[in-house]
């Protein structure tokens, strides 16, 4: 996954602990310019924590994050400069937009926050609403008038207001009707192409990943299991967990049901060992290093599939 080009976002051995609970441990990946990184894993695997860390809503307990090569600094001025260049879309559109504000205020908020509100701002907001497929929306209407899909469009307009280079999408369609999901995905893909956006896309939808993602990071219990080119991993996964996850996603069953356990036992060595059919004594004792299968493809397993 290492390119010659400077990555937009770079997680370097990032660990995030909450008291004794480890949400992320030693997570590394890069988001390449103009490319889409898919972030998959079951609930509680740390996907959303990655997004929150990238947005500076939380700080790594160890390790570091770089944006365009520069490590994150949490001094407010520098954080603000980074936030100026990152757009985001949250999972729950009903919660992500303040019901007390008008569309103009919501979409204009990033502009105001960065002192970019001027005479053309209203026109710009209009243009954004047109672009996200809400040409008839009144700038003075409130979000309560819109359904989930409409709200997510408004959130997308807000995310694009500052013309970011990176867009973070945390399961942007999981709270929407099936009919609406495809529309929102198509919109996001169009925008990604026309603006050359780099994207992090958190999702459970494997066919979607196969279709849109360039790179893939598979998380399990806060650790990276496998990481590499999305289409090839999807076609021929190497890590046992990826195999299980992908087949569960394919079968459209919640993959957790395979074990009947909401909180599977996690080994401090390989976290997947308790569930793995290939586990050997070594897997319980040592942490598997990330072994390159190819220069751009790493698997954290002692016995990856060939």
């Amino acid at each position: 996954m290492s390119g010659l080009e400077l990555p937009i976002l770079h997680f370097e051995h990032v660990t995030r602990r909450y008291d004794r609970f480890i949400a992320l441990e030693d997570v590394s990946f890069v988001v390449r310019k103009g490319k889409i990184l898919g972030l998959v894993g079951e609930s509680g695997s740390g996907k959303t924590t990655c997004i929150r860390l990238a947005l500076g809503l939380e700080r790594p307990s160890a390790g570091r994050i770089r944006f365009m090569g520069r490590p994150y600094s949490y001094r407010s001025k520098e954080m603000k400069a980074i936030r100026r260049r990152i757009g985001f879309i949250f999972q729950d559109p009903y919660d992500a937009l303040d019901p007390h504000l008008t569309l103009e205020e919501i979409i204009g908020e990033p502009l105001r926050a960065h002192g970019l509100w001027n005479v053309t701002a209203r026109e710009r907001i209009r243009g954004l609403l047109d672009r996200v497929g809400l040409p008839d929306a009144s700038l003075r209407s409130y979000p309560t008038r819109y359904s989930g899909g409409g709200l997510q469009r408004i959130a997308i307009a807000r995310a694009l207001a500052l013309e970011p280079e990176l867009l973070l999408c945390d399961e942007p369609t999981s709270n929407l009707d099936v009919s609406m999901q495809a529309q929102i995905i198509n919109l996001l893909m169009e925008l990604q192409r026309e603006r050359g956006l780099a994207m992090v896309f958190v999702t459970h939808d494997l066919p979607l990943i196969r279709r849109i993602a360039d790179d893939l990071v598979v998380l399990y219990a806060g650790r990276v299991m496998e990481c590499g080119p999305a289409r090839e991993i999807a076609a021929r996964p190497r890590h046992p967990y990826t195999i299980v996850l992908l087949s569960a996603m394919e079968a459209k069953i919640p993959h957790r049901s395979a074990w009947d356990e909401a909180n599977p036992p996690v080994s401090p060595a390989c976290p997947f060992a308790p569930r793995c059919w290939k586990a050997q004594p070594q897997c319980w004792k040592e942490r598997p290093p990330r072994i390159p299968v190819r220069p751009d493809w790493e698997v954290a397993c002692f016995f990856p599939e060939e």
Binding site: G56, L57, D92, L97, E109
Partner: protein
Amino acid sequence: MAPITIASGWPIEARRSLLAGIALIGAVSLIALLAPWLGDPYYQDFATGLSPAGLPLGPNHTHPLGTDSLGRDVLARVALAGRVSLSIGILAALLSLALGATVGMMAGFYGGFLEALLMRLTDIGLALPTTLAGLAMTALLPAGLLRPVVIITLLFWAYPARLVYNETLRMRRRGFVEAAVAMGEARYRILLRHILPHLKTLLLTYAPMNAAAAVMMEATLSYLGAGVPLPTPSWGNMIGEGQGALAFAPHLFLAPAAFLLLTTLGFLLIAEGFKQAHSRGIRFSWLAL
């Protein structure tokens, strides 16, 4: 006559409570406002204001609520006391609410050392035995009409602070607040634009209850001689004075007590109206009406 448009979209029970409350507070306030035209509250009329035996007069044509033991007109005194008690109560209620809301929002939103400091102060405020602490503060502060305002504010701010703190903690986790943080919005603007508007319901429902409690507290302090200094009348000190005459001139006690009761009831009815409207899903604007 034009129909009353106040709270016209509200459920009937909520609106009824609110309007009854407003009517009561309005009536009491009107009498208080009319005080200068209801007679001289300080004129001691020993010639015609007392019975031949030297006792207070009961209600009669010249003195609708009778006179007190110095021959002063009770209606005039109760009305002036209304000005004093209502202003002190409402002012202290607003100040304590504003102070408490500010403390609660700052503690809940900024977190860290500020949160620890402010919330420990709040805990102390909540632990104070109100009346006792009020009396102690009376001894420390210079006398005057502002003294009960300061004391009641200091006694009452911690309650709304705690409520607002909890609500702010909840709000801080909301998506649109985190979104505002993530887009680089300044913290004070997030507080004013995203959090304060969502505290509206809480503050509007709490305000009239706080006012009722503040008016009662003022009466308590004045009754104990720690509030409004004599000869300025307040409902509390009038009740205190009237208590001794209960056997032969009960109106001296009943008149200020009735006013106090109606005021408290009025504020609580307003609070009840807000509460019912809120539970039926009515959303308030800042003016609420």
